[in-house]
């Protein structure tokens, strides 16, 4: 009995550590193969590249932990980015514009939550619908062309450095990680998220109020996507109508690579960070090695498949 328990605990641990081990291995391989890889400049560059995906993936972790999925994150990113840039272009202040963008992201996420809980629409379908709707709204709002931003303060959010070394988006990523990690591990909210994903009916019977929870979970995902959208808009000096296309898949990949189960109920936020880093370092390393972008996609696909297979074996 104890043996069996130890065995199952060991496999869980191994699976969780899988992503960490994978990242360390990737690190060693890339350091040996490319002289430019293991430099402070490069590592910080990758962290900055990863930050957008990580911000979205943190929110996605909550959604997937609760047994859902959010396909609208990239579209929310583009729409809130466009609105924020549009407000600034119309002469509104930076703080108001950012606040409006973040608030909009929260509301859009909560609309997903309403559709999923009260509307009883499958999360995949509901968020596919909002994805399409928001893409259309973004294109009509921007008329398909970028909205340039010239506010120097705003440009710092995505392009600034702390102590002339650490890019600001990296700081945002770690702050979001700390806050989300606390939400997940240190609050009742987090325990309820996991409970819903494990067994929604059981969670309901034990007094978890499902509908408001889902509103909050999807709202959080929308809020973080909007934040990512603002950081991206700042980095690009402009809001792009087609920004964030396919980002939902990168975020889901980061969550899954990190060892969070797509079936819900089991996972951790640290894994998501590792998963996002894995994807980022893989992209960066393959670029440094001069691998064709076509093969880069092949490699990324294989890595994701391996991660999912490991998940299935559990």
């Amino acid at each position: 009995m104890t043996l069996q328990m130890n065995w199952s605990r060991a496999t869980t641990l191994l699976q969780r550590l899988g992503s960490v081990i994978g990242l360390v291995l990737l690190f060693i391989v890339l350091s040996v193969m490319s002289p430019d890889f293991l430099t402070t400049g490069n590592l910080l560059t990758v962290l900055r590249q990863v930050s957008i995906n990580a911000l979205i993936a943190f929110g996605m972790t909550f959604v997937i932990l609760a047994g859902g999925i959010d396909l609208s994150v990239g579209a929310i990113l583009a729409f809130t980015g466009a609105i924020t840039a549009g407000l600034m272009a119309a002469g509104h202040g930076m703080v108001l514009s950012i606040g409006a963008g973040l608030g909009l992201g929260l509301i859009l996420g909560m609309i997903n939550g309403v559709l999923v809980s009260w509307g009883r629409v499958a999360p995949f379908i509901a968020t596919l619908g909002t994805l399409t709707l928001l893409r259309g709204l973004t294109l009509s709002y921007t008329q398909g062309s970028p909205i340039p931003v010239s506010n120097p303060g705003f440009a710092l959010i995505g392009g600034g450095y702390v102590a002339n070394l650490v890019p600001l988006p990296v700081i945002w990523m770690f702050i979001a990680f700390a806050v989300c990690g606390f939400l997940l591990r240190g609050t009742v909210f987090g325990r309820h998220v996991v409970a819903i994903g494990g067994n929604e009916e059981a969670a309901r019977l034990s007094g978890v109020r499902i509908a408001p929870m889902k509103l909050a979970i999807y709202g959080l995902s929308g809020l973080l996507s909007a934040f990512a959208g603002i950081v991206l808009t700042s980095r690009l000096y402009s809001a792009q109508a087609t920004a964030g296309a396919g980002y939902e898949l990168d975020a889901i990949a980061a969550v899954v690579l990190g060892g969070t189960s797509l079936a819900g109920g089991r996972g951790w936020l640290f894994g998501t960070l590792i998963g996002a880093l894995l994807i980022g370092f893989l992209n960066n390393g393959l670029n440094l090695l001069g691998v064709s972008s076509f093969y880069q996609q092949v490699v990324k696909g294989i890595v994701i498949l391996i991660a999912v297979l490991l998940d299935r074996r559990q």
Partner: protein, 312 residues
């Protein structure tokens, strides 16, 4: 859980140790600058950041660059943004970290890449833009098609075909774009020197469907027309459709030399198209990059000639 935390801490510690060993000084821009012309293998490395490889135009551009790189003894590293500006910024940063000698940038969008160009310049890596420019950043050189000469080429072709006489309809591209402005200027200026006349001109925004409806309207109002000049092939193909079924010989000249446009020229639907030469843009990119590596002066703006394609 404790083991896990331990492991994570150990991993983090290794990471940190790795970072501090290297020290910020070693990777700072100054180091990149001294890396200068020749990287590890002795062969200089040029990075090419493409907007997409989903479009034959840019694949041809890449092939032209690759061939020229092989000839010039330069190693070419290609990164592809899949039309995502954020991805392009990341890949340009990777090229900077790789300390390539020159970056050839074919921007996904002229408004989004200024920051990346500035980062490259801080690392003392010159940037050459190909086909599209970057707003808000100064580059070593910009290489793109000579659209003014292309417009003139179209006008000369029509003058020859029509013996310098006739009425022409002009379909314009998206107002304000450099392509529409320059192609129109080259065409209009040259037409003014002949006996031909542009009797109507209207934007159809580079779009085939709009090319069709605008042509229909303009043909309705102008019965005596011998030629239509469209500032791109898509609009020209729309014009061809508008002419279909009409019992009249109207010469249609397009611009770009897209696969559809070339096919229409072969089929006789279009009289000619002014084709861009993406391979040439790629080749000139490498040659200009090589000059920068060899510390030779380069031109700020290089116009790549266009080529008139007719059925013969």
């Amino acid at each position: 859980m404790r083991k896990l935390t331990l492991f994570a801490a150990a991993a983090a510690a290794t990471l940190l140790a790795a970072c501090s060993q290297q020290g910020p000084g070693e990777s700072a821009p100054s180091a990149a600058a001294t890396a200068g012309g020749a990287a590890a293998g002795g062969k200089p490395v040029i990075g090419l950041a493409l907007s997409t490889q989903n479009n034959p135009f840019f694949v041809e551009l890449k092939d032209g660059a690759q061939k020229a790189a092989d000839t010039a003894g330069v190693q070419l590293v290609v990164v592809d943004a899949q039309d995502d500006p954020a991805r392009q910024i990341s890949s340009v940063e990777d090229l900077i970290q790789k300390r390539v000698s020159v970056i050839l940038l074919n921007p996904t969008d002229s408004s989004a890449l200024a920051g990346a160009v500035q980062s490259a310049q801080r690392a003392n890596i010159p940037v050459i833009t190909l086909d599209r420019g970057v707003d808000g950043a100064d580059v070593a050189s910009h290489i793109a098609s000579d659209n003014i000469a292309g417009g003139k080429m179209a006008a000369d072709f029509l003058a020859k075909q029509l013996n310098g006489k006739g009425n022409i309809i002009e379909l314009q591209g998206v107002a304000g774009t450099s392509a529409a402005r320059e192609r129109g200027k080259g065409f209009d200026d040259e037409i003014a020197t002949t006996g031909m006349k542009v009797v109507a001109q209207q934007p159809a925004n580079f779009d085939r469907a709009q090319g069709l409806s605008v042509s229909e309207n303009l043909l309705q109002g102008n019965s005596d027309v011998q030629a239509i000049f469209a500032q791109n092939d898509e609009m020209a193909l729309g014009a061809v459709q508008a002419l279909a079924g009409k019992n009249k010989k109207v010469l249609v000249v397009g611009f770009d030399g897209t696969p559809d446009g070339k096919k229409a020229v072969q089929d006789g639907g279009m009289a000619a198209t002014v084709a861009q030469q993406p391979e040439e843009i790629g080749r000139l990119g490498i040659e200009t990059g090589k000059k920068l590596i060899d510390k030779q002066p380069v031109e700020k703006s290089i116009a790549v000639p266009l080529k008139l394609l007719t059925k013969e």
